[in-house]
């Protein structure tokens, strides 16, 4: 065969246009489109006007996408595979995407609160330098935050919907890259913030490599990156087992890193503490929802037939995550850091729902995510309100006697902490109950015992904060509580949802149950 003959054999056949379901992809396309529009606003609009255009634009984009998701969810039984199999638009995905959007809207209240002053006017300025003082004096703001946030939220939505591993990887990067930047934008404690951004970036890039390596190995085993094809290949028991097991292990590392499960939790305390608190609220709620959503889909769809192989590993990870998160949190003296460890423990509780691999496990996890997200944003919003001369008063000792000075704020924070601890009549109890019950039905009773023990340990440090706030004398130069309307609205929303889902959980449980009734589309 000559060279020209080889070339000729390649150049035949037309390239057909892929079939794209724009209606089902709409919410994601809308968020990404508004993000691009936001970049144009940054480019073309004068400095003074940017903030006033960006905030309503971002709000409209997120709210519009949420309404679109409601329409998609109500209109028909959503069980579609869209974009030639790259994206699955099914009921659990719509539930997760809707949760992400609502939580992002509440986080936006915190991020857009200018009086809050959480963000540096000039990210490139060194901490304590003249350039930084100049930037603060000129009163400029980095309104790039809003497009960055939209890109991150769009990535999270795609991450939960991705139906093949490559789309999932792209979504992972789209979601992570803006977050790395947003972490480094804190106005106070600049060095800590920049350190957090670099750590998050390096560890995140490292875990992405694990994810990609796992994808490559699974592709080598199954001959496809589609989750359903991998499920079929594992069902047929074709190919070589070591390739499959190594692929599952590496893929799990990438996913568990984003979840912050032990032993991949090292970034979480540093990043949560260093990042500006509104960004921490976004990460602790929306990113967790996205990470759990993708983990659910991978383990429920692609690796369903392999559950006997991955279950021991996930048991170990879940037990370690619940215990390590709860035990190390006891020694923390910084509130944001303590909440980071509490978030690690909660990731462990969520993993018990993943391990259950049942309809009840799925619906329990969905409910837990929605309930936990609201409580978390509310708690971080309260942290932004308690301030002294150096910005937020993050150290636990500074909160001494807050209950006597501002009983309402301290009371609401105590309520959030009780919800984290899982006290009845809060959403935390209902969520934990739903997940643990599914785990028991799935035969994972020892896991639930560990979960309950870990909850008891966690209750100790939540109660310690309450004791410090209410039963110790306030210091003379204690922090002041600064209330602004957007932050107060975020706190009120968080508290309301935590109460409603605790007292009247049934409607939300029904929605989560319906969303989970057909599991994931293949």
């Amino acid at each position: 065969m000559t060279g020209s003959a080889v070339l000729n054999t390649v150049a035949i056949g037309d390239i057909q246009a892929p079939h794209l379901e724009y209606g089902q992809l709409g919410p994601m396309l809308l968020v990404f489109g508004v993000a691009v529009l936001g970049v144009l606003v940054e480019a073309l609009v004068g400095r003074g006007w940017r903030q006033f255009i960006q905030v309503p634009l971002t709000f409209a984009g997120l709210a519009g996408a949420f309404v679109w998701i409601l329409v998609l969810g109500v209109k028909d039984k959503p069980l579609h595979v869209a974009a030639e199999g790259a994206v699955g638009v099914d009921a659990p995905t719509l539930f997760l995407q809707g949760t992400i959007l609502v939580l992002a809207l509440v986080s936006l209240l915190l991020i857009a609160d200018r009086q809050n002053g959480a963000f540096t006017p000039q990210a490139s300025a060194l901490p304590g330098s003249d350039a930084e003082r100049e930037g603060i004096a000129s009163g400029t703001v980095q309104s790039e935050l809003y497009p960055l946030m939209l890109f991150a939220v769009g990535g999270m939505m795609l991450f939960t919907a991705a139906n093949d591993l490559l789309t999932m990887f792209v979504a992972l990067e789209v979601m992570s890259l803006p977050l790395y930047i947003m972490c480094g934008l804190a106005r106070r404690r600049r060095l800590l913030s920049q350190e957090a951004a670099v750590k998050y970036f390096l560890l995140g890039a490292f875990s992405s490599a694990f994810f990609l390596y796992g994808t490559a190995l699974l592709y080598g085993y199954a001959g496809s990156v589609r989750l359903s094809d991998i499920a079929t290949a594992t069902g047929n028991n074709a190919g070589s087992e070591p390739l499959l097991l190594a692929g599952i292990a590496l893929l799990s590392v990438g996913l568990l890193f984003k979840l912050g499960a032990v032993p991949f939790q090292a970034w979480k305390p540093d990043v949560y503490q260093g990042a500006p608190t509104p960004v921490t609220a976004l990460m602790a709620s929306c990113t967790l929802v996205a990470a759990v959503g993708a983990t659910l889909r991978v383990f429920y769809v692609a690796l369903e037939n392999m559950s006997w192989d991955w279950r021991p590993m996930m048991w170990g990870v879940a037990i370690l995550t619940m215990l390590v998160g709860a035990i190390i949190a006891i020694t923390q003296t910084d509130l944001k850091r303590m909440l980071a460890y509490s978030s690690i423990a909660h990731a462990g509780f969520l993993l018990t729902g993943v391990i259950a691999t049942s309809q009840a496990g799925l619906s329990g996890t969905l409910f837990y995510l929605a309930a936990y997200g609201f409580t978390t944003i509310g708690a971080f919003a309260v942290i932004t309100m308690v301030r002294d001369a150096g910005g937020e008063a993050g150290h636990l000792s500074r909160w001494a006697g807050l209950g006597k000075r501002s009983p309402v704020v301290a009371g609401v924070f105590a309520f959030f902490l009780l919800a984290f601890a899982g006290i009845p009549l809060t959403s935390g109890f209902t969520g934990k109950f739903a997940v643990f019950k599914a785990a028991i039905d799935g035969g994972a009773t020892p896991l639930v015992v560990v979960g309950v023990i870990s909850s008891a340990i966690a209750a100790f440090f939540y109660l310690r904060v309450i004791v410090v706030m209410f039963f110790s004398e306030p210091a003379a130069d204690g922090p002041a509580v600064v209330t602004t309307i957007p932050t107060a609205a975020a706190v009120a929303l968080g508290a309301t949802v935590t109460v409603v889902l605790g007292v009247l959980p049934q409607p939300m449980l029904d929605v989560a149950g319906q969303a989970a009734s057909h599991l994931f589309v293949r």
């Binding site: 060279g3 390239i15 246009a17 144009l40 940054e42 480019a43 060194l126």
Partner: protein, 120 residues
């Protein structure tokens, strides 16, 4: 064997061009040494002495490199698309590429308006 002749010819040409450039540069170029020429990198940030606390350093080169990547990626998509353009059925290929270029243009507009293209 016929199959490999174009590759071998291309390899010979590439090595020949590289060798020719290096030899001709050494023979014909003027040699005026100064301090900058003895640096590890002739352009960019001076590695020593480091200012106290790391100091501020210009990010011009970094911006240029970032900008290069934006257009580099664009070319990577454009080139195979242009080669296979006659094989696209309908308008889909054209519309998608216009959308892609428009998105890249947004990034370009941002860099341009924010002064990323000004050297000083």
């Amino acid at each position: 064997m016929d199959l490999y002749i174009p590759i071998i010819v291309l390899g010979v040409l590439a090595f020949g061009f590289a060798g020719f450039s290096v030899v001709m540069g050494a023979l014909s170029g003027p040699k005026r040494w100064n301090k900058a020429k003895l640096e590890a990198y002739e352009c960019g940030i001076e590695p020593t002495p480091q200012p106290v606390g790391g100091g501020r350093f210009p990010v011009k080169y970094y911006l240029t490199a970032m900008l290069f990547i934006v257009f580099d990626i664009e070319i990577i998509f454009l080139y195979p698309w242009a080669v296979a353009f006659n094989r696209f059925a309908g308008w889909f290929g054209l519309i998608e590429m216009v959308l892609f270029i428009a998105t890249v243009l947004v990034a370009y507009a941002y860099i341009w308006r924010r002064g990323g293209l000004e050297w000083d």
